[in-house]
């Protein structure tokens, strides 16, 4: 009986200690899933999906240093000037600060821009903010790697 009591108390305290970590992991998993949805939406040029992923406050900084608003970015993507073939992530880091999450990665991009295919690597910074009950991307920035 005594052993059981100890065992159950141990389990109880274990539950207490692992939960905050589990919560943070849950946010990380949610963001990683959204990042995959973002990649899929770019490759499919799926404006409707991006509409859900991007915040209305979005600032999108391209690797050329030019910036787009949400509406500008989605309009350009739908117009098909840039066709994404693939985006492969590596070196992914997710940092959770309450209702803000920073996702950084090295991303290898293959795309066709104005008929010209190109492949390059960039450092990508994504800032996710919880708006109501949904996580949305408020900032995107890419920096070209040499």
């Amino acid at each position: 009986m005594k052993t059981k009591t100890y065992l159950l108390s141990f389990l109880f305290f274990l539950a207490l200690t692992i939960t905050p970590q589990a919560q943070s992991n849950k946010v990380e998993q949610a963001i990683i899933a959204l990042e995959q949805q973002w990649v899929d939406a770019l490759v499919k040029a799926d404006g409707a999906a991006l509409e859900q992923i991007y915040s209305d406050q979005l600032t999108y900084t391209h690797s050329s240093g030019s910036t787009d608003t949400k509406a500008e970015y989605i309009t350009n993507l739908k117009a098909g000037k840039t066709k994404y073939e693939s985006l492969v992530r590596e070196d992914v880091k997710v940092r959770v600060f309450g209702n803000t999450v920073l996702h950084t990665s090295k991303t290898n991009i293959r795309l066709i821009s104005n008929g010209q295919p190109s492949a390059f690597a960039v450092k990508v910074l994504h800032v996710w903010v919880k708006e109501g009950s949904k996580w949305r991307m408020v900032a995107h920035q890419t920096t070209r790697l040499p």
């Binding site: 009986m1 059981k4 009591t5 159950l8 108390s9 389990l11 109880f12 539950a15 207490l16 939960t19 905050p20 589990a22 919560q23 406050q57 600032t59 900084t61 391209h62 690797s63 050329s64 240093g65 030019s66 910036t67 880091k93 940092r95 600060f97 309450g98 209702n99 803000t100 920073l102 950084t104 690597a121 960039v122 450092k123 910074l125 800032v127 903010v129 919880k130 109501g132 009950s133 408020v138 900032a139 920035q141 890419t142 920096t143 070209r144 790697l145 040499p146």
Partner: protein, 174 residues
């Protein structure tokens, strides 16, 4: 006794999960739910003055940051940057706080011009995002000084009551 203990474990776990997941919607009455739905479509409920105050504070910190770069003031920079800083330069190189401060202290990275414009601040609770354009004359020894125009982004996170730069990233405008 055994059943009592099991009950204690289950209820304890449940309570703990509830406490940890405060953003999870709680059970609400119908009028309350309606209010919450309405609130979700409105801008953030924080009073405008508070957001305006935070914006002012962030702009002041940004100004101090630019001055510290020009003055090669590593001591001031140290207080503006978070210990978990991720600093991505225009060439894609990622540095830590210690690495970046060392390059300033040792005079390897030297700014002789820092001119900022198109500064936008977005506040979201305990975080603030700054996007801006900046023209810099920067020497990274042994390279000669170069003048470039770029976009940079700062993510400030309030840590221990102070706003600190947690992420910096620069993208050159071509």
């Amino acid at each position: 006794m055994k059943q009592l203990l099991i009950l204690l474990v289950i209820s304890g776990y449940g309570l703990c999960g509830y406490a940890q997941s405060s953003p999870r919607p709680r059970v609400v009455s119908k009028p309350e739910a309606k209010e919450q739905r309405q609130a979700a479509t409105k801008p953030l409920p924080t009073p405008k003055t508070t957001i305006a105050n935070v914006k002012q504070e962030i702009l002041k910190l940004e100004h101090q940051w630019a001055l510290a770069l020009l003055n090669e003031d590593a001591i001031r920079l140290e207080t503006l940057l978070a210990d978990n800083l991720q600093y991505t330069r225009a060439n894609g190189k990622v540095e830590t706080k210690a690495g970046y401060l060392k390059s300033i202290r040792d005079g390897i990275t030297k700014y002789s011009l820092v001119k900022r414009d198109d500064i936008k601040v977005q506040v979201n609770g305990e975080t603030a995002i700054v996007t801006a354009r900046w023209k810099t004359t920067l020497q990274n020894k042994p390279n000669p000084p170069m003048t470039t125009t770029a976009r940079y982004q700062h993510v400030y996170v309030k840590q221990g009551g102070r706003w600190l730069i947690t992420t910096h990233q620069t993208t050159e405008i071509k």
